[in-house]
């Protein structure tokens, strides 16, 4: 089998074409695949659809999906935050969204997680109680099951998932540290091609306890270990 270990982030993202869908995990800046995003920024793929909890922050030193948005590489976002949490925080996304320069779908965070999970689990659609009675459920199919009302939601698939992990083996089995885990495992399961940046180490197969793997390596296609700063982004 071809080795999954790549030497550079640029190599690992070099063949990503325009107009693909990419999942970007991370929550509160933790578990964000910043090195892969920076590499895709350099690579320049355009017309991207992004799936991510938020649509970028204002921290210029910490590349995230907002970096790609600001560079005009992103056409559409699925995210749980499409307006600033504070009026003063006008990100590139917010500016472009208000100017109709980017499309967006606001998805409740749990519905987003479950739609991603459904894609990785081969589920065609599911009924969730979240958003019933709100603007976000308008136009969606409703169904009463055992006296409770649910809306129908569909999976979110992706061509690529960018992943940030703590530790990997060369087969791609991954471990995450604490809240770094967040969307990482489910996004890796929902994407056709999963590319991982690894903080701690890439160890030989057999060194990770099979009971302590958060994402089986069968879901992982490319692995890059983050080099020391300043080459590697450790934010």
């Amino acid at each position: 089998m071809k080795s999954k270990v790549y030497q550079t982030f640029d190599q690992a993202v070099s063949d990503i074409p325009n107009d693909v869908t990419i999942m970007f995990p991370g929550f509160s800046g933790i578990g964000v695949p910043r090195n892969l995003i920076a590499a895709l920024h350099r690579q320049g793929a355009k017309g991207l659809t992004g799936i991510s909890n938020n649509a970028g922050t204002l921290d210029a030193k910490a590349p995230d999906v907002g970096t790609l948005i600001e560079a005009g590489q992103v056409k559409k976002m699925y995210c749980a935050f499409t307006s600033p949490t504070h009026p003063s925080r006008v990100t590139a996304f917010v500016r472009m969204y208000n100017n109709n320069e980017i499309e967006a779908e606001t998805v409740p965070q749990g519905t987003m997680a479950e739609r991603i999970r459904a894609a990785g689990a081969g589920i065609g659609a599911f009924y969730t109680p979240t958003s019933v009675g709100t603007e976000l459920a308008e136009g969606k199919e409703h169904r009463v099951i055992n006296g409770r009302t649910y809306v129908l939601e569909y999976p979110l698939h992706a061509d690529y998932a960018f992943i940030r992990a703590w530790k990997a083996d060369t087969f791609g089995n991954l471990q995450f540290r604490l809240t770094q885990r967040n969307f990482n495992p489910i996004m890796a399961m929902a994407a056709k091609t999963t590319i991982v940046e690894v903080e701690n180490d890439v160890v030989p197969m057999g060194e990770l306890d099979p009971d302590a793997i958060h994402l089986p390596g069968v879901y992982v296609h490319r692995i890059v270990r983050i080099p020391p700063a300043p080459q590697g982004i450790w934010e």
Partner: protein, 230 residues
């Protein structure tokens, strides 16, 4: 609509408001605290009760905010605050964290809001004339937690307009879910008949509180003064 001049009387402090909600937490409850004011609830500690803090980014049983210098760069709560690990803590991924929420495992979620209506609707994610919204995990929590508690200023800090309404004007986060509400003027229960004023801020009469409120308040015979932490 009547005018609502900013009152000069002292109102409740945010910490006192959140203390009061936290006093309602029962032993063994799983609690999810929203970003901002609600996180102050975790400063109230009753040694007789075990409270389990859940955060939607997949932490069950996290500890207090990390003191300066003790931050673990991989451990934050949903508000992005560094927290301490606590014995018994467990980590799950995002889908499992919301599986936990949707299946009703959260005993109470405490959130901020822009508006609450007397039928238990509340709005905290979207302001009209602004495109999009910041929903985060609020809709999942609001629809699925056993109880929704709200902590917010009684009136809009910018223009003094009331926030306890007959019906929400903003797009709602979930219908009919608010059970309890603390504002800087008192503690309210949302009943089938509407807002029941349970405790009033010191120095504030029910009539004065009603004056700051659009919805009609129910004033019970056993109305009492706001209870502060011991």
């Amino acid at each position: 609509m009547p005018e609502h001049p900013k009152s000069e009387k002292p109102k409740l402090e945010r910490q006192a408001m959140c203390d009061r909600l936290a006093m309602e937490f029962q032993d063994g409850w799983i609690v999810n605290l929203g970003v901002g004011m609600p996180t102050l609830c975790s400063n109230y500690v009753d040694p007789g009760k075990t409270i389990i803090n859940h955060s939607e980014n997949g932490v069950i049983g996290y500890g207090p905010i990390a003191p300066k210098g003790q931050e673990d760069r991989h451990l934050v709560n949903a508000g992005g605050q560094f927290v301490l690990a606590q014995p018994g803590m467990a980590i799950v991924h995002h889908a499992d964290s919301f599986a936990f929420i949707r299946s009703g495992m959260v005993d109470v979620t405490v959130m901020g809001a822009y508006e609450v209506s007397e039928n238990g609707d509340f709005a905290n994610w979207r302001i009209p004339n602004r495109k999009g919204g910041g929903i985060g995990g609020a809709m999942d929590l609001a629809a699925c937690a056993q109880r929704v508690f709200i902590a917010m200023e009684h009136t809009n800090p910018r223009d003094g307009t009331p926030r306890l309404l007959k019906r929400c004007k903003l797009p709602i986060t979930a219908p009919g879910v608010v059970k309890m509400l603390v504002t800087d003027l008192g503690l309210f229960e949302v009943t089938a008949q509407g807002f029941l004023l349970r405790e009033h801020a010191p120095g504030w009469t029910p009539e004065e509180i009603q004056h700051e409120t659009e919805a009609k308040l129910i004033i019970p015979r056993d109305l009492r003064e706001f209870r502060f932490r011991d």
